[in-house]
Amino acid sequence: MSQTLTTPSAANGNVSAATAKAAAKVASSEEGPQSLTLAKAINTALVDAMHEDEAVIVFGEDVGTLGGVFRITDGLTKSFGDQRCFDTPLAESGIVGMAVGMAMNGMRPVVEMQFDAFAYPAFEQIVSHVAKMHNRTKGAVKLPMVIRIPYAGGIGGVEHHCDSSEAYYAHTAGLKVYAPATVADGYRMLREAIDSDDPVIFLEPKKLYWSKDLVDLQELREQHADNTRAGTSGEGRAAVARAGTDATLIAYGPSVPTALAAAAAAAEEGRSLEVIDVRSIVPFDDETVQASVRKTGRAVVIAEAHGFASVASEIVARVQEGCFHHLAAPIRRVTGFDVPYPAPKLEHYYLPGVDRILDAVDDLQWEDQP
């Protein structure tokens, strides 16, 4: 699936010495925009962060010699040694709990949960400690750690290999939850997550790992260096993935390309849909989302997760509370059904697709003018 979303940057400036050095090694192959997968963008973010800061360490199951089951940590052990990227025993609570201690003691661990549905043994550590440590200690203990989770469906995975678990994390006060949807954001948002002094749950849409886009890595690095220098970042900001005027599709992570495909199809039928890429579920960018809905007057929220008690429901509630008088129709949700994640051969019935999104758009009471 190809990506169309790139955020142009006007940023220019000097790259930090370490980044420049890291970049120089591969400069010949990285000049100007190049076709890159999301997996490679995330991998590059890890490489750059590890070059810049010795406190950044990576560990998890099979992330060392193998480079991870999705190859996201490919080459890290070779480049940085087995002290900075290493395999752990097979125990998710151990991985996250150890990361808490390391973060308490000067490190910035980036740990990998092998699959979304394998992360649940770590749930107590995440909910009871990762999310609460900063609050309990009134900020005396910061936990600058990232929990990377290959996330959501669409890959025909067998049981426990596909889950949309964002609501558990988003519901837990004290966690930031990022869900990148584009190749550029894979790089950009992971750098932001690693830079964050707060713990971040980083949800990587596995069906998009091998999607490609033209990105200018050098430009992304310069942007990051500029943001670091200026103390600014795009953290917590949603993006307009496609501009439109008639209705707003709100999506995140794996649902963004689906929403974009739906918008493209709608355009052929003469309907102009705006697509908002939420990017960061926590913090949530009410401003960008609501500005779009105020403009269009209609909205559909799209997510793979079950609709009941979901992030999609939260978005609907927030938009309704903030934009009531601008709405021409009730906000619709297109989500997964309220069933356990289905087997591969049933998956396509479950996942929100273009047709289901277009049906929801058709239902937005077009006969009534806002």
Binding site: G94, M98, G101, M104, H129, H134, G236
Partner: protein, 401 residues
């Protein structure tokens, strides 16, 4: 764990258990892997409940592998902390009865473990305590009133963990052991010689994180002492319903680390065994497990009724093994503890009790805006909105009064 005082620990821990390197390196000790890792046949006891020094051959160790007796000044300083610890426990229980604290899980009867835990590690080392380890945290040097903030109920923690390298008291069981493992791992990666003392109780050894913490520490060869206070009960459930292991110390060998059992009401033995464990860990032995046999003399908390699950006769039996009277008799008989010392120490204990009474007797003013201040490093727009909503609500309430 049977390690001769006359032998140094191996410079480098073996690469992997079972690959022969372990057995080879242990040749340095002149004993088998089994003798190294399995606990001694009996708990280590150096002073009897009557306060008499146990003869060298009868302390529980194998011949030639005795623990050295801590020196007199160390024992006297430890006794002072013991007396303070008991006073703190009794004062806190009284403050709960007076409604000054929501709850207090007392370590009455376990003070020797509490004191030894605090004294066996160096300033740069770390301690990871549970909710019942308040006395150990105070003995480590944290302000007593700050420690009690958790139980007073105005915040879920009252001290800065970085001030004295003490993890925030953990209520979820054994989760903090993994934090200790992480602290030790980070230090090791930087080449620092930091030792971590990670504490839990007997019931907690049933938790999954106990297993994961011990296994991680052993695999990464980290200098962590897992200190298990076996006080015989997990609220109401006796140890026999938690574990069928020969002893909790025996669990260590399954992870490839040495385990030892010690009389947890014998402060002398605790200082000797934990002192040795810390020394070995610092020298690169990898993790060790020390199980202390003690007894929770009081109920789980003030909200618990211990008469529902244990006999008075059992409590009386342990009363006779009290760590304070034992140490007092021993040190007095040894000529280390004078009546002047006793007066001075009692005065110190009373001063700490007074500090607690004063600090917890004051009515605390809570700031409702604290709810929002520390959720993240800087508040999200949503939290800012909620903070403003609460401020407005309170302002209107005030205006209406």
């Amino acid at each position: 764990m049977t390690i001769s005082a006359n032998h140094e620990a191996p410079d480098e821990a073996p690469a992997m258990p079972g690959d022969g390197a372990l057995a080879e390196s242990l040749l340095k000790f002149g004993i088998s892997v089994e003798d190294y890792m399995l606990p001694a046949r009996h708990q280590i006891q150096m002073v009897t409940p009557d306060g008499v020094l146990v003869p060298l051959g009868e302390q529980g160790t194998q011949p030639g592998h005795e623990y050295p007796l801590p020196d007199d000044s160390e024992l006297l300083a430890a006794y002072e902390q013991l007396v303070i610890g008991r006073r703190v426990n009794d004062q806190n229980s009284a403050l709960v009865r007076q409604g000054r604290m929501a709850v207090y899980p007392s370590s009455h009867g376990q003070e020797a473990c509490q004191v030894a835990a605090a004294l066996c590690i160096a300033d740069g080392d770390w301690m990871f305590p549970t909710y019942r380890d308040s006395v150990a945290i105070m003995a480590r040097g944290i302000d007593p009133v700050q420690v009690m903030t958790l139980f007073r109920g105005d915040w879920h923690g009252g001290y800065n963990p970085h001030e004295r390298n003490v993890g925030i008291q953990s209520t979820p069981l054994t989760t903090q052991l993994l934090h200790g493992v992480g602290v030790a791992h980070a230090a090791k990666l930087r080449g620092e010689k930091t030792v971590v003392l990670a504490m839990c109780g007997d019931g907690a050894t049933s938790e999954g994180d106990f297993h994961e913490a011990l296994n991680f520490a052993a695999v990464f060869k980290l200098p962590v002492i897992f200190f298990v206070q076996n006080n015989k009960y997990a609220i109401s459930v006796p140890l026999a319903q938690q574990s069928a292991a020969p002893s909790l110390a025996h669990k260590a060998v399954g992870y490839g680390m040495p385990g030892e059992r010690v009389d947890g009401n014998d402060l002398v033995a605790l200082l000797a065994v934990l002192g040795r464990a810390v020394k070995l860990a610092r020298e690169g032995s990898g993790p060790l497990l020390v199980e202390a046999h003690t007894y929770r003399m009081q109920a789980h908390t003030n909200a618990d009724d211990a008469t529902r699950y244990r006999e008075d006769s059992e409590v009386a039996e342990w009363q006779a093994k009290d760590p304070l009277t034992r140490m007092k008799t021993y040190l007095t008989g040894k000529g280390v503890l004078s009546s002047e010392d006793e007066t001075r120490i009692a005065g110190r204990a009373e001063a700490v009790a007074a500090q607690l009474r004063q600090g917890l007797g004051e009515d605390v003013t809570v700031d409702p805006q604290d709810l929002f201040r520390h959720v993240f490093s800087s508040p999200t727009p949503q939290l800012e909105k909620q903070s403003a909503m609460l401020a407005d609500e309170l302002a209107r309430e005030e205006a209406a009064q």
